[in-house]
């Protein structure tokens, strides 16, 4: 897998634009030709010229003449009228009937779903083509009746697809959340469900419109459209088929016009879909792309690398050394999201990375694993793990590190396991991949792993599917999965954030025990002090892509040496004194493209002086087991109530 959905769809958008423009232009041309046929057509479509029968293209007849001497171009222009009207009729009926019913069925469930699904099954079970044949016979050669009926017969497909994607969205927890928080059903449908299923509906229209055109042409081809000699596209193909050996040319204009118009519908539909998909598709992890990014490296790390291996750390199992990560923005310029990050984790040690959202915590973890989103890349720095330098490994070598040496646990347990397989099967697959052995051995090992994460009845859990587990159980299973390769380091990215408070403690206790039993090192990413202080020996505080302070947990609590740490501690509800007003840090974390010059924190800092905004601040030793990136280390802590609001 060498590229990602996101990078690809971005590329698609760019490369497809000319095609979409050409398709739109063609549709406009067909539309103009059809609407203004009476003005633009070079010839009377019903004027048979028996003196020039089956004449090839000429100045007078641009596309030649057919077996009765009709001008082919003129007939195609007039034929376009009936074709396009027929498509519009069918699509309108299909949409107006299919989408509301699909939404209702998928969202409401229960009896509306049953009734709608049954009726739609019924309509789907009606042999469409026979009905159309019958309709055309009843309303002799009335194309409108046939196309309206075709739209109606196509509606159940639209309804099913709308229903299926509504069900998917409905099953996601945020809908329940929206419902619980009291949003009205219609509001949820409109603002949460409809946008998510829009792309599916657009894809379906882009598939149905050409099918409707095809059906229109088919009826005409079978001689069931407007009665000859009235012009139609399908009829033109039929006329050509009668003289296929004498004049194969005649097959070309009619067939190509039909094919090109259908193609144009499809291309426009695809372009629409790509934009709507890109609007909400989440970022995606991917192996480091091999292709060179075309972006100019605008932002170079301006700060000095941290002075040597950090103070007091054990010889690192994992050691980051000036890690800098860049991600190309939409405009193509590289944006630095992680800058000059250095810290290390010793064997059996547990380190917490703390900071507000979008401070670069997760990106750092992804950088270690070589799974940066899109065309993100490590722009500078090194990442040593157990003697190996990870950033210089090939994707294959890196994949051998993942799982076997470093395990990974994600935030959302309910969506981090493959929903289509059993938990045991998934873990057994990981065991077999990392450790080999027979299926039976792997299965037994999977059950052992499930037992080791303290899941009761591990054999029964192994047979279950992820959706049959509670959040806490699923997170334990996800930890078991991460341990399948017996890694030395476990990276846990907000492993408790999505869980109930009561369940959180259990997971943290489990991490504790795993550490003790296996000598596992843990890199725990969190925005929650309670979580990291429970588990971690040392803490790394990150702000706006940089490490601003690191030190032992006790030292950091006793004496924060960076204003941001001080502010975070003051703002923490777990540590606040009863009845005291909870302090806040004013402002928000700036986006990576808008980091201020100098100290990244100075616009929000109560200690800031003019000097802070001028030069990049280096990370320096600030105490026996402490480093800080601040010009005013000595003053930190003196502000007292300055953070209190």
């Amino acid at each position: 897998m060498s590229s990602t959905a996101r990078a690809q769809s971005g590329r698609w958008r760019q490369l497809r634009q000319p095609a979409a423009a050409a398709a739109l232009a063609w549709l406009a041309l067909v539309l103009t030709g059809a609407v203004f046929a009476s003005l633009l057509a070079p010839d009377n479509p019903a004027a048979a010229d028996l003196n020039s029968v089956l004449a090839g293209p000429s100045a007078h007849h641009l596309l030649g003449t057919d077996a009765l001497g009709y001008d082919v171009l003129s007939r195609l222009m007039y034929g376009g009228q009936t074709a396009l009207i027929g498509v519009a009729e069918a699509v309108a009926v299909c949409l107006l009937v299919g989408v509301p019913l699909g939404l209702a069925a998928g969202y409401l469930g229960g009896w509306p779903d049953r009734v709608i699904s049954r009726v739609s099954d019924l309509v789907l079970a009606i042999p469409a083509v026979i009905v159309l044949l019958v309709v055309v016979s009843i309303f002799a050669s009335n194309q409108t009746a046939a196309m309206l009926m075709f739209g109606l017969l196509g509606a159940p497909v639209m309804m099913r697809i709308t229903r299926a994607s509504t069900l998917t969205v409905r099953g996601e927890q945020f809908i329940d959340a929206a419902w619980v928080s009291g949003l009205s059903q219609l509001r949820i449908l409109r603002s949460h469900v409809l946008p998510r299923i829009l792309s599916t509906v657009i894809v379906q229209i882009s598939l149905f419109a050409p099918v409707a055109l095809l059906m229109e042409c088919t009826l005409c081809f079978l001689g069931l459209g407007p009665a000859p000699p009235q012009p139609s596209w399908g009829g033109a193909v039929y006329d050509a088929s009668q003289v296929i050996q004498r004049d194969p040319w005649l097959l070309v204009p009619s067939g190509l016009v039909i094919a090109a118009t259908i193609l144009a519908f499809g291309i426009v539909g695809n372009a629409l879909r790509d934009t709507s998909v890109a609007a909400w598709s989440p970022t995606q992890l991917s192996p480091k792309t091999k292709t060179k990014t075309k972006t100019k490296t605008k932002t170079k790390p301006k700060t000095q690398p941290a002075p040597g291996p950090d103070a007091g750390a054990a010889p690192g199992l994992l050691r980051l050394d000036g890690l800098t990560i860049e991600i190309p923005s939409r405009s193509g310029a590289a944006v630095t999201v992680v800058q000059d990050v250095s810290f290390s984790i010793g064997p059996g040690e547990s380190v917490g990375v703390v900071g507000e959202s979008s401070c670069g915590k997760t990106m750092t973890a992804r950088g270690i694993l070589g799974l940066l989103p899109g065309a993100g890349r490590v722009a500078a720095g090194r990442c040593w793990f157990d003697g190996q330098e990870l950033t210089s490994l090939t994707p294959r070598q890196l994949n051998a590190v993942r799982g076997r040496k470093i395990g990974f646990v994600a935030q959302e347990p309910m969506v981090s396991l493959d929903p289509t397989g059993t938990v045991g099967g998934l873990i057994a697959e990981a065991v077999r991949h990392h450790r080999g052995g027979s299926r039976q051995q792997a299965h037994n090992r999977a059950i052992e792993l499930l037992a080791s994460v303290r899941l009761p009845e591990p054999a029964a859990v192994a047979r279950r599917y992820p959706h049959q587990l509670s959040g806490g159980m699923a997170q334990r299973a996800a930890i078991a999965l991460a341990l399948a390769g017996d890694p030395a380091l476990l990276i846990a990215d907000e492993p408790t954030t999505a869980l109930d408070v009561t369940v959180q403690d259990g997971i943290l206790g489990l991490l504790h025990e795993l550490r003790r039993e296996r000598g596992l090192s843990i890199l725990l990413i969190s925005h929650d002090w309670g979580v990291v202080t429970d588990v971690c020996d040392r803490i790394v505080v990150m702000y706006a892509g940089q490490v601003v302070e690191q030190g032992s947990t006790e030292e950091l609590f006793a004496r924060p040496r960076h204003p941001y740490t001080e502010g975070l501690l003051a703002a923490n509800p777990h540590l606040a004194q009863a009845q005291a007003t909870l302090a806040t840090i004013r402002g928000t974390v700036p986006a990576p493209a808008h980091w201020p010059a100098g100290c990244h924190f100075h616009p929000r800092c109560p200690y800031a002086t003019q000097q802070c905004g001028q030069e990049a601040v280096p990370l320096v030793t600030a105490g026996p087991d402490s480093m800080s990136r601040c010009l005013h280390i000595d003053r930190v802590g003196t502000a007292g109530g300055r953070y209190a609001s």
Partner: protein
């Protein structure tokens, strides 16, 4: 799962009743009188009335329907107004031809479509665009036109395959295969696009989900992530679409069988409709409906097998 199948089958009975009643009414609206059509313009009024009575056409519609239903229960769908053969005999002969065509086309289209759609989702770039272009052509080229082109090139131009006609398997397996190539190619090509597009979309969607990231982060091999986990998840929407495509192909056989002059259900339907052969049309409706019901059932079963969240409900 068994109860799902049972419920579906129980539901199928009223469904068949309603659909056949509806079509009975629709077909009765078709202008023209079968008795008149059989006898031709020169027959006397007495002959005409006699034939109408023999055919049961003088009775009210609901009685005609009731008689027909009674026959269905006994496996008797009546007798063709034109050939005088039992309708079941005619349709059973033709059922095999249509099913063979559809099954072969579906197989070819599914294998090629899933492979191409996955390729397009994963590789993107120039290869993805080439796949998209080919897939798009499948939708754009009208099957009757493609059929004519194939005939023009591979039957008339370079006589590799027969232009029209059917060879029973029992007569000559090689000839059977030979005769199948062009119609199956035509049908499969038309079904390809939807499978490719749905596969690609589903794959792109699945590949952007969290669990794929977790699998990557825990060192699952790329091949397993793609072929086992992503494809299994992506298969759910694709299988739903396969059922729809089967039904689409059933419709397409009408055209393809007509162009290639194959003795299937589809070409028989066109024939019967133009001849006002009421019992045959009714039989066609019944056969088509039963096929559609069975395909929908199979789709549901496959859906349940693939998606455990559906299975338990």
């Amino acid at each position: 799962m068994l109860s799902l199948i049972a419920r579906r089958l129980v539901w199928a009975l009223p469904l068949l009743l309603v659909v056949s009643a509806l079509s009975f009414v629709l077909v009765s609206l078709v202008p023209g009188d079968p008795a008149r059509a059989i006898l031709g313009p020169d027959a006397s009024q007495a002959q005409y009335l006699l034939l109408r009575r023999q055919l049961g056409l003088d009775q009210p519609l609901y009685l005609q329907y009731y008689d027909w239903l009674r026959g269905v229960v006994h496996g008797n769908l009546g007798i063709s107004l034109f050939t005088g053969e039992p309708v079941t005999t005619i349709l059973n002969q033709r059922l095999g031809v249509s099913l063979t065509l559809i099954a072969a086309a579906l197989l070819v289209a599914a294998v090629a479509g899933v492979a191409l759609g996955t390729l397009s989702a994963v590789r993107g770039g120039r290869l993805g665009r080439a796949v998209d272009a080919v897939a798009m052509l499948g939708l754009a080229v009208p099957s009757f036109w493609l059929a004519l082109l194939l005939i023009a090139v591979f039957a008339v131009g370079v006589p590799l395959f027969p232009a029209t006609g059917w060879v029973p398997f029992s007569t000559s397996p090689a000839g059977w295969l030979h005769a199948l190539v062009l119609p199956v190619a035509t049908l499969a090509f038309s079904a390809l696009t939807i499978i490719v597009v749905q596969t690609r979309d589903a794959m792109l969607d699945v590949l952007s989900r969290d669990f794929i990231q977790v699998l990557r982060a825990n060192g699952f091999p790329a091949r397993s992530i793609l072929l086992r986990h992503a494809l299994r998840n992506a298969a759910i929407p694709v299988v739903t679409v396969l059922g729809i495509i089967f039904i689409g192909l059933l419709t397409a056989t009408v055209l393809v069988e007509t162009v290639f002059a194959l003795p299937g259900l589809g070409s028989q339907a066109v024939e019967a409709a133009t001849q006002h052969d009421l019992p045959v049309i009714q039989g066609e409706v019944l056969y088509f409906t039963v096929i559609v019901v069975l395909v929908n059932l199979l789709t549901d079963v496959a859906y349940g097998l693939l998606d455990p969240r559906v299975r338990v409900r």
